[in-house]
Symmetry: D2
Subunit: 431 residues, 4 copies
C-alpha cells in the first residue's frame, strides 16, 4: 500500500482536555507527530509569557497543534460527500493543520521583533529543508512538502483548503480560543464549536457558514474579543514582554559592544547577527533561553543582570496609563529624570502600545489578512457576517489603542524619600 494511504493497525488517541480525544488513523500523521521538529513544540509555550499572569497558561504549542489537527479532521468528516469537497485534499489539510505552527520559536513575539525574524519563514524552511518532517512528507509524494507549505503560506491554489487553516474562522483560532481559555481558567472562550462545525459548508474557494448558525458565530467572535482584552493583551503579560524584549536588546547591544560575557552566548550569536540557520533556530527553545537568562543573572552588566532577575523571579515593571503622543513633555522630562536617577531610560522607561482590531484584528505574533466570514443564506447567496450581525458590526475594524508606560516602581521606591528627582517622577506619574 502506498505510504500516503497507510492506516495504523489500530486507531491511536491522545487524551485532550479540550477536544476530549484527538484521533489519529493515518501513518503519515503519526510519523509527523514523532519527528524531532514537532516534538520540539513541547518546549515552546503556546502563550509565551502569559503564564506569569495566568499561572495555568503553561501549555505548549504541541498541545495546540494537535488540537488544530483534530478540528480539521472533524470538519472534513462533515464535508465528506458534500459538493465542492474533494477528499483527495484530506491528507494535505491534516498535515497543514498539524504543522502550521512548526516555525514558532520561544516567546515568538519578542524574539521576532528584536531579531527581525518571522516564524512563518521558518515554518517554510522546516517543511522544505533537510528535516525529519520534510523526509516524511516527501514519502507521500515528491511535491507534497511544497503543497503543505503553500497551504500554510495561503498561496495554495485551492482556496477552500487554505481557508480551513487560515481565515477568520479557521481551525487555528477555534482551537486556541478554547484551549487558552481552558488553561488560563477564564470563563470566556466558550462557544458551540460542534454547532459551527455542523453548519460549515465547503464552497468553491472558501468555507462558509449557514446563516442559521450566525448566533454561534457571533458567540465565537465575542469570545475572541474577550480573550484579546482579558488574556492576550493583559497589561501584566505585556510587562513581562517588555522585560523580555529589553533583555534581548541588552544582550545584543552588549555583544555588539564587545562585552565579555562570563558565559559565551553561543546559542544567540547567529540571532545577534540576524541570520540564524535553520539548525541554530531550532536549537534555541524555551529551556535553552531560560538557561541563559539564569546564567545572565550572574553577569556583571547591571542592566542585563537586573532584567534577567526580574524575568526569572517575576519582579515585573509596574504600569500606568500614558499616551506618549499627548504627553510628550512629561515623557521627555521623565526620560531625563530617569537618567539623573541612574536608571537607563532606554531599558527602564518603556511605552507599550497595544492595538486591537476586533473581528478582523489579528493575534500578537501573527500577521497578514484573513478572509472574512461569509454566511450562506437560504437563497444560497453569501453575505459577509458583519452585514448581518449588529454585534459583529459594532466591533469590526475599530482600532482601539491602549498605551501604557512600564517602569520599575520598586527602584523608585528604594530611593531616598528626600530625593527631589524621585518626588518629581512620582508627581508626574501619579499626580
Amino acid at each position: 500500500m502506498a505510504y500516503r494511504d497507510e492506516k495504523l493497525s489500530e486507531e491511536k488517541v491522545f487524551k485532550d482536555p479540550v477536544h476530549r480525544y484527538v484521533h489519529v488513523r493515518e501513518r503519515v500523521i503519526w510519523d509527523l507527530i514523532g519527528t524531532s521538529e514537532f516534538q520540539r513544540l513541547r518546549r515552546i509555550k503556546q502563550l509565551g509569557t502569559s503564564y506569569l499572569t495566568f499561572h495555568g497558561a503553561e501549555h505548549s504549542r504541541f498541545n495546540h497543534s494537535l488540537g488544530v489537527y483534530e478540528i480539521v479532521r472533524r470538519i472534513i468528516e462533515n464535508f465528506n460527500d458534500r459538493p465542492n469537497w474533494d477528499n483527495e485534499e484530506r491528507l494535505l489539510c491534516l498535515c497543514a493543520a498539524l504543522l502550521h505552527d512548526l516555525g514558532h520559536g520561544p516567546f515568538s513575539h519578542s524574539f521576532e521583533k528584536v531579531f527581525k525574524l518571522d516564524h512563518e519563514d521558518f515554518t517554510q524552511a522546516i517543511l522544505l529543508g533537510d528535516t525529519e518532517v520534510n523526509h516524511i512528507l516527501r514519502q507521500v509524494e515528491k511535491g507534497f512538502p511544497k503543497k503543505v507549505a503553500d497551504v500554510i503560506n495561503k498561496t495554495y491554489e485551492n482556496k477552500l483548503v487554505v481557508s480551513l487553516i487560515s481565515s477568520q474562522i479557521d481551525a487555528d483560532r477555534m482551537d486556541y480560543l478554547q484551549r487558552d481559555a481552558y488553561f488560563t481558567g477564564v470563563s470566556y472562550g466558550h462557544f458551540d464549536m460542534e454547532r459551527i462545525l455542523r453548519v460549515m459548508r465547503p464552497m468553491e474557494d472558501q468555507v462558509v457558514v449557514k446563516e442559521s448558525g450566525m448566533h454561534a458565530v457571533e458567540d465565537y467572535i465575542m469570545s475572541r474579543y474577550q480573550m484579546y482584552w482579558q488574556v492576550y493583551f493583559h497589561p501584566v503579560t505585556r510587562s513581562a514582554e517588555v522585560i523580555l524584549s529589553k533583555i534581548l536588546h541588552r544582550a545584543k547591544e552588549l555583544y555588539e559592544n564587545g562585552y565579555a560575557f562570563k558565559l559565551k552566548p553561543i546559542h544567540f550569536l547567529s540571532f545577534f547577527a540576524g541570520e540564524p540557520t535553520l539548525k541554530e533556530y531550532l536549537a534555541l527553545d524555551e529551556s535553552v533561553t531560560l538557561y541563559y537568562f539564569q546564567m545572565w543573572m550572574e553577569e556583571d552588566d547591571p542592566v542585563l543582570s537586573d532584567l534577567c532577575h526580574r524575568f526569572v523571579n517575576r519582579r515585573l515593571f509596574k504600569y500606568i496609563e500614558f499616551n506618549p503622543n499627548s504627553q510628550m513633555n512629561e515623557w521627555m522630562e521623565l526620560y531625563k529624570l530617569f537618567q539623573k536617577a541612574g536608571l537607563n531610560p532606554d531599558y527602564y522607561l518603556v511605552v507599550d502600545s497595544s492595538s486591537d482590531l476586533p473581528y478582523d484584528f489579528y493575534r500578537p505574533g501573527e500577521e497578514g489578512e484573513r478572509l472574512p466570514i461569509h454566511l450562506l443564506q437560504p437563497n444560497q447567496e453569501l453575505k459577509e457576517l458583519s452585514r448581518l450581525s449588529d454585534i459583529v458590526e459594532s466591533i469590526s475594524g475599530k482600532k482601539r489603542t491602549d498605551h501604557k508606560l512600564y517602569l520599575p516602581l520598586d527602584r523608585l521606591e528604594e530611593m531616598s524619600s528626600r530625593s527631589k528627582t524621585k518626588k518629581r517622577i512620582m508627581e508626574i506619574l501619579y499626580g
Copy 2:
C-alpha cells in the same frame, strides 16, 4: 500593625482553572509568593515526565502549591468558631500549605533515586536557611520558620494542624487529584470537594469527616485509585522515567570515569558528588536540566547521546509484561543477548516495578505514613473509614505489583532480519 497581621489594601486573586479563584489577603502570603524560591516552582513540572504521555500535563508545582494553599484557606474558613480550632494557627497553616513542596527539584522521582537526595530535606533547608522565604517568615516571628518546617515535617505538636497538610485526606491530595485530572483531561479525579470541606471537623489531634459525608470520601478515594493506575503509574510515563534515570546514571558514570564532556556539566558536579549545596540544588531546575540534555545529544558517548535523543525527542522504550522473579532465566539470557547485540543491557534492558497501596498507598516521590481517615459518627465516636466502607476496604492495603521490561524495540528492529541474536530476543519477548 505587626507584619503577621498586615492585610493587603485590596484582596488579590489568581485565576485558577481548578478552584476558580485563589484568594490572598495576607501580606505574608503575598510576599512569600513573590520570593525567588517560590517562583522557581514555575520551572518544575507537577507531574514530571507525564507530559510525554498526557500532553496537557505541563502544569507546574507553582500551580499546585497555590491550590493547596487555597484549599487550606477554605477549610479554615469553615473551621472558624468551631470547638478545637485555634485561629492563632491560621497563618501557620496557610504558610505550610503554600510552601510544602518548596524543596522539589526537576523530575524529583528520578533525581532523588539516582543522586540519593530527598526533596523534603531541601524543603527544610529552604525554610530554615538563608533564603528569601526564611527572611519573610522570620519577620512574622523569630521561631516561625521552624514552626512551618515542623508542620511540613509532621513533627509540629498540634497534630490537627499537621493533618490539614498531610494525612490521607489532606489539602495536598485533594488539590493534586483535581488538578492533575484537569490538566491531563482524564475523567477521573472528580469528587465533591465542596461537600467534603463542609463535613470536615477539627478534633483535638486531627481533622475528621462527618459520617454523612462518607460517600463523598469514597468517591475521593476512588479518584485516587483511578488516578494512580490511569495517570501516575502509566507505563509510558514510566518509560520516560526509565530513560531519564539512565541518562543521569550514565552522566554520573562517565564523570566518575573521567570522561571529557564537551560541555562541562558544572550544574551537575555537586549532584554527582552527592552533596549539592542549597544554592546548587536550587539552580538546577527543569530548563537547566533540559539544556544539558540537549547539549549531551552532541556528546561522543553513544549511550549518553542516544538516551538524551530519546528523552528530548520522545523516542521512548517499549515495554512488555515481565516478572524478573519468575522469569529469571529469560532475564539472564536476554542480558547476554543484548551484550552480544552491542546494546549495553545496563542501559537498554530495564525492569521497572510499580507498586500501589490503594487507600494507604502513597504517591511516587512521597514517603512516610499518613494518618488514616476517621469518620465522626452521630454518636460522636470515631471510626476508621475502611471499617465502614466496603469499597475502601476492598482496596485497602492491598499491594499490587506490576513489573514491566523496558527496551529500545526500534534498535532491535533495525538489526538484520537474519540475525540469530535478534530472532532469539524477539522469541523470548513476544513468544
Copy 3:
C-alpha cells in the same frame, strides 16, 4: 430569641446544579420554603412552553427562586462591612429574592395576555393576603410582609435593596440566564458570576460594578442577548405559545357562547370572568391546566379539541416570515382562503411578532423599566455601561421586530392536490 434572628441548628443545603449548593441558615427562610404557596412553584415551569423546543427545559420556578435567593445571599456576604450597606436589610433582601416570582401562574405569558391578569399583582396578594407566606412574614415583624412586597414592587425606599432584586444586572437575571442555559443545554448563558459578585459595590441608591469588571459584565449582557434570540424567542416555542393562547381564547369564547362542556371547566370559570380570587388563582397550576387540555381533546368543538390535541401531542403550527404591515393584501387574501377552506382563520392563521430590546430589553412575561448598569470608575465616578462599552452600546435600545405567520401546514397538506384554494394558499406562502 426573636423569630427573625433564629438560626437552624445545622445549616441546610440544597444540591443545586447551577450554584452547586444553596445554603440556608435562617429559620424564616426555611419556613418560607416549606409553605404551600412556595411549593406550588414546583408545578409551574420556569420556561413555560420552551420544553417543547428544548427538551431539557423542564425545570420549575421553584428551582429558579432558590437560585435567586442564593445569589443574593452571596452578594450580601460580600457586602458585609462595606460602606453604604446596612446589614439590617439582609433578611428583607433574602425574603424578597426567594419570593419575587411567587405570583407566577402556569404558562404565565399566554394566561396573562388572554385573561388580562398580572402575576405581579398576585405576588403582592400572596404576600399581603391570608396565606402561609404572609403568616410567616408577619412573625418577623408586623410590617414585614409590606416591606417584602414593596421591594418586589420596586417601591421600597431603600433603592439599593430594590436594585439587588430588580435592575439590569440583578440576581433574578443572573440566575435565570445560567439556569436556563444549563437545563436547555445551550452553550450561551455562561459568564463569570463569581467575578461580577466580587466587583459589585453597594452605593447609596443602587448596586454598581467596578469598572475593572466591565468585560465580565459585557459577557453577561451578551449571554442575555444570545439567550433571548436562541432560547426565549425561539420560533418553535412561539408556535406552542400561539396554540396555547388560542386554546384559552377558544375555551373562553365557547363558555361565553353557552357551549355545553362535557367536563365543566370549574377551575377556569373565574378566569373566563376575568376575576379569579387568590385561592382560585393558586389552584390552577400546570398539572390542572394539562388535565383540562387532555379532557378537552374529547370535546365536540372541533377547534378546541384540535388545538388541545396539538398542544398535548406537540403537533405545532409551522411558520414563515411574514410582515402583516407590508403584506396586508396577502394577509387579507389568506384570511378569506382559510375561511373558504374551512379553517377558522382566527385560530389557524396567526401572526406573532416578537420584539427585543437588547440590554434594556425585558423578558417575556416581565415588564417595567429597570435601572441601567453603572460602572464605578477608579476616580469614584459612575458611568453608565453603554457609554464605556462599544459592544453594549451596539445592542442598546435597538428594537428589532420579527414577524412570523403561524399555521397548520398539515391541514393544508391533507387537502386535495386539486384544490384551487390550497394551491393559491401555498403560492402566497411559499411563492
Copy 4:
C-alpha cells in the same frame, strides 16, 4: 424508496444537555418521536418523586429515551464494519432504544406495586396494539413491531442486539446515570463514556469491552453504586414514595368500601379494579395524577386528604433507622400507641426496606437479570469483570438492606406534651 430506508432531507438535531446533540437522520425515528405515545413520556418524570429531594430532578422520560437512542446510535457508528456486526439490525436497535421505556406510567414504582401492574407489559402492548407507534413500525415491515418488542423483552434471537439495550452496561444505564447526575447536580455519575464506546466490541451474542478499558468500566460501576446510594435510594425520596403509595392504597380502599368521592375518580376506576385497558393506562399521566391529588385534598376522608396535602405541599414523613425483624416488640407497641393516638398505623407508621445489589443490582422499577460485563482480553478470551477488578468484586452481589421507619413527626409534636402516649412513642423512637 422503502419507508425503512427513508432519510430526512436534512439531519435533525435535538439540543441535549448530556450528549450535546441528539442526531436523527431516519424518517422512521423522526415519526416515532412525533407519536402521541412517545410525546406522553414528557408527562412522566424520569425519577418519579426524586424532585422532592433534588429540586433539579424534574426531567422526563422523554429526555432519557432520546438519550438512550443517541448512545445506541453512537455505539453502532463504531460497530460499522466490525466482525459480528450486521448493519441490517441498525434500525431495529435504534427503535428499541428509543421505545424501551414507552410503557412507563406516572411514578411507576408505587403505581406498579399498589395496582399490581408492570410497565413492561404496557410497553409490549403499545408496540403491538392499535397505536400510532405500532402503525409506524408496521410500515417498516409487517413483523417489525414484534421484533422491537422482542428486543425490549430480551427474547430476540440476536442476543448482541438485546445486550445493547439491556445488559449490565447498556445504553439505558449509561444514559440515566449521566442524565440523573446532571439534573440532580450531584458530582457522581461521571465516567468516560466516550472511551467505553470506543472499546466496546460486538461479539456473537453480546457486547463486550476490551480489557484496556477496564478502569473506565470500573468508574462506571462506581458511578452506579454512588448514584444508587446518594440519589435513587435517598431516604427523603423514599418518604415521598411511602406517602404516594399510601394515597393510592387509601383511595382504592375507600372506593372498595363505597366511599362517596366528591370528585368521582374516573381515571382511577380501572386501576382500582386492577385491569386498566391500554387507553386508560395511557390517559393517566402525572398531570392527571396530580390533578386528582389536589382535588382529593378537599375530600372528607381525613387520611386521604391529609396524605394528599403532604404529597402536594411536601410535608413528608420523618424517618429513623428501624429494623422490624429485630425490633418486633417495639413495632407492636408502636402500632398500638399510634392507634391510641388516633393515627391509623396502616397509613402513618410505615417500614420501608431498600436493598441494593451493587454491580448486579437493579434499579427501582426495573427487574430481571441482566447479562454480566465481559472483558475481552488481548488473547481474545473473555473474562467476567468482577474476576479482574478488585473494586467491582468488592461490591458485587453483596446485598445490603436498609430499614427505615417513616412517620408524621409533626402530628406527634402537635400532641399535648403531657400525653403519656406521646411520651412513650418518643421514648421508643428516640430513646
